[in-house]
C-alpha cells in the first residue's frame, strides 16, 4: 500500500532534516584493507599449516582411532573392576597427601620470600633476584623438577611432595607479592607510624588486608597440585599415577577404568570443596 500523506508539520521538519544532512555529504566508504590484521591471520595460518604438514605423525592412524577408543572405553568401563576400588582409593589418598604436603611446604617457603619480594618491604637487591627465581621456577614444569630430584636422590612420595613444593614456590611467590602490592597502603603506614617493627608492620598492617586473597591462592594451588601429584606418580613418585601406569602397562583395563573414575571423583570433589571455601574466603558468604 502507498504511504499515507504525512501531515504538513511533519513535512516541514523533514525538509529541515534533509537540508541539514545535505550540508555534510555522506559517501559510502570503501572497505578498509586492514593489512595488519590480514598479515597476522596469514602468519597464524602459515604456522598451523606448517606444523600439521611437517610433524612426524601418520594422520591415517586417526582413521581407526574413534572405533579403537570406543573399544578401549568399553574395556575400561563396561564394567570397571570395582574390586580394585579400595586399592585405587588408597593410592589416591597417597596422591592427595603428596599434594597437601607439597602445598604446605611450598607455602612455608614462599610466604617469607614473597614478603621480601614485595615493593616497599625488601630492598631492591633482594627483590629482583627473588622475582627472577619465581619466574624461573614457574617456567619449569613440575615434572622436570621431579625428574631432577629423581636423578639426584631417587623418587619417593616424599621427594614427589618436595618437587611439588618447589614447583609451587614460583606461582605462590608471584601471587603473594602481587597481592601485597595491590593491598591498600593505609594500614601499613598506620602501624609503621605507631612505631611498629618491620615484622609487626607485615603482621598487623599488610597481612590482614591480603590474607583472604592469599588464602584463596593457596587453596587454588592445592587444586593444581592434586593434578600434579597424579602426574608425578606416572614417573615413579607413587600414588594414583603409579598404580595407573602399572595397570596400563599390564593392560588391566577394567582396573584402569576404576582408577580413572576415582581420579575424576576425587578431583571434582576437591575442586568443589576448595572452590566453595575460596568463595567463602573472598566474599565472606557460602553461596
Amino acid at each position: 500500500m502507498s504511504a499515507a500523506p504525512p501531515p504538513v508539520r511533519a513535512n516541514s521538519r523533514q525538509d529541515d532534516d534533509i537540508r541539514a544532512r545535505a550540508a555534510e555529504p555522506r559517501v559510502r566508504p570503501s572497505r578498509p584493507r586492514r593489512l595488519g590484521a590480514r598479515l597476522v591471520s596469514l602468519a597464524i595460518t602459515a604456522v598451523v599449516v606448517l606444523a600439521f604438514w611437517s610433524v612426524d605423525i601418520d594422520w591415517s592412524q586417526l582413521a581407526g582411532f574413534p572405533a579403537n577408543l570406543l573399544r578401549y572405553l568399553g574395556l575400561m568401563f563396561l564394567p570397571p573392576d570395582l574390586s580394585t576400588l579400595p586399592s585405587a582409593f588408597e593410592a589416591t589418598v597417597l596422591s592427595v597427601q603428596m599434594a597437601w604436603l607439597g602445598t604446605v611446604i611450598g607455602i612455608v617457603i614462599s610466604l617469607p620470600l614473597s614478603f621480601l619480594a614485595t615493593a616497599g618491604v625488601g630492598p631492591a637487591w633482594v627483590r629482583w633476584p627473588l622475582r627472577g627465581l619465581f619466574s624461573l621456577l614457574r617456567a619449569v614444569p613440575e615434572v622436570v623438577i621431579a625428574v631432577l630430584i629423581l636423578s639426584v636422590t631417587g623418587l619417593t612420595a616424599f621427594t614427589g611432595a618436595l618437587a611439588i613444593a618447589v614447583g609451587s614456590v614460583g606461582t605462590l611467590g608471584k601471587w603473594g607479592y602481587e597481592a601485597m602490592e595491590g593491598a591498600e597502603r593505609g594500614p601499613v603506614e598506620a602501624v609503621r607510624a605507631a612505631g611498629g617493627s618491620t615484622v609487626q608492620t607485615l603482621r598487623w598492617g599488610l597481612w590482614p588486608s591480603t590474607a583472604p586473597e592469599v588464602l584463596a591462592f593457596w587453596l587454588y594451588r592445592f587444586e593444581i597440585n592434586v593434578r600434579a601429584s597424579a602426574i608425578l606418580g606416572l614417573i615413579g613418585a607413587g600414588g594414583i599415577g603409579k598404580v595407573l601406569a602399572d595397570n596400563v602397562q599390564f593392560r588391566i583395563w577394567d582396573a584402569v577404568g576404576t582408577l580413572l573414575i576415582v581420579v575424576v571423583v576425587v578431583t571434582v570433589v576437591i575442586d568443589l570443596v576448595s572452590g566453595a571455601l575460596r568463595r567463602k574466603i573472598i566474599t565472606g558468604a557460602w553461596r
Binding site: 606444523a51 610433524v55 579403537n68 578401549y72 599415577g241
Partner: protein, 255 residues
Amino acid sequence: MKPRTAWKGLLVLAAVAAVTVWAGFGVEVDVGALIKNFSNAADKIVLLTQPDYWFFPETLAALAQTLQMAVIATAVGAAVGLPLSFLASRVTDPNRPLVAGTRGIMNVVRSVPDLLYAAILVTIVGTGALSGVIALVLFNVGIVVKLISEAIDAVDRGPLEAALATGATWVRADRAAVLPQILPVYASQTLYVLELNVRASTVIGLVGGGGLGILIDQVRTFYRYHQLSLIILEILVVVLLLELASSYLRKRLVA
C-alpha cells in the same frame, strides 16, 4: 565477637596441622635420608649446572616436535572448544539440559591431567607425537570450554536479543551478536592454552607422547647429566620466550 573468631582461627589451624601430620606419615617423610642423599649427590648437582652445549643439534628434532605438538593441539583444541563453549553457556544455548550436560562432560574431561591421558593413549594409538597431541587436545578442549563459556556468560545480552528479534535462529544470532564480543578473550585464552601446551608437550614424552620428554627419558636413564641440563635449559628458554611474547600480545588484545 573477637574471642569467637580467634577460636575459629585456632581450630582451622589445628585442623590444617593435623592434616599435614597425617599427610607427612602418608608420604613417609624422612629428612635424614634426604640430607644423606643430597650430600651423596652433590657431584651430580655440579654436573647439572654444566650444560653440554654440543648436544644441542641432537635435541633439535625433539624440540621441533614439541613445538609442533603444542601448535597443533592448540589449533584443534581452540577450534573444537569454540562451538562447545556456545553450547555450554546459558546465554547462547536455550536448551538447559544441553548446557548442563556439556558442562558436566567438560568438568569430567578437565579433571584428568594431560599426562594421564597420554599414558593411556600411548597404549591405544602407540607411542609418538599422535598420542601426545590427542592427550593435549582433550585437556585443551576442557580448558577452552570453561574459560570461553564463562566469558560468554558475562557478555551483554542486548545484541543477542536484537538478533533473535530479527527472526534469526539461535546459531546465527550467537554467531553474529555474541562471537564478535568474545573474540578478544578467545584470542587471549588461546595464547594462554598455547603456553600451557608448550609446557606440557616438553614433558609429555616422559610417558611416550613424543617431543623433548622422550629425550629426557633417554638421557636420565643413562645418567647423562650434562645433556639433561641442556634440555632443561632449552625448556626454560622456550617457555620464558613464549611467555614474554604471549603476555605482550595478550595485553594488547585486552586493551
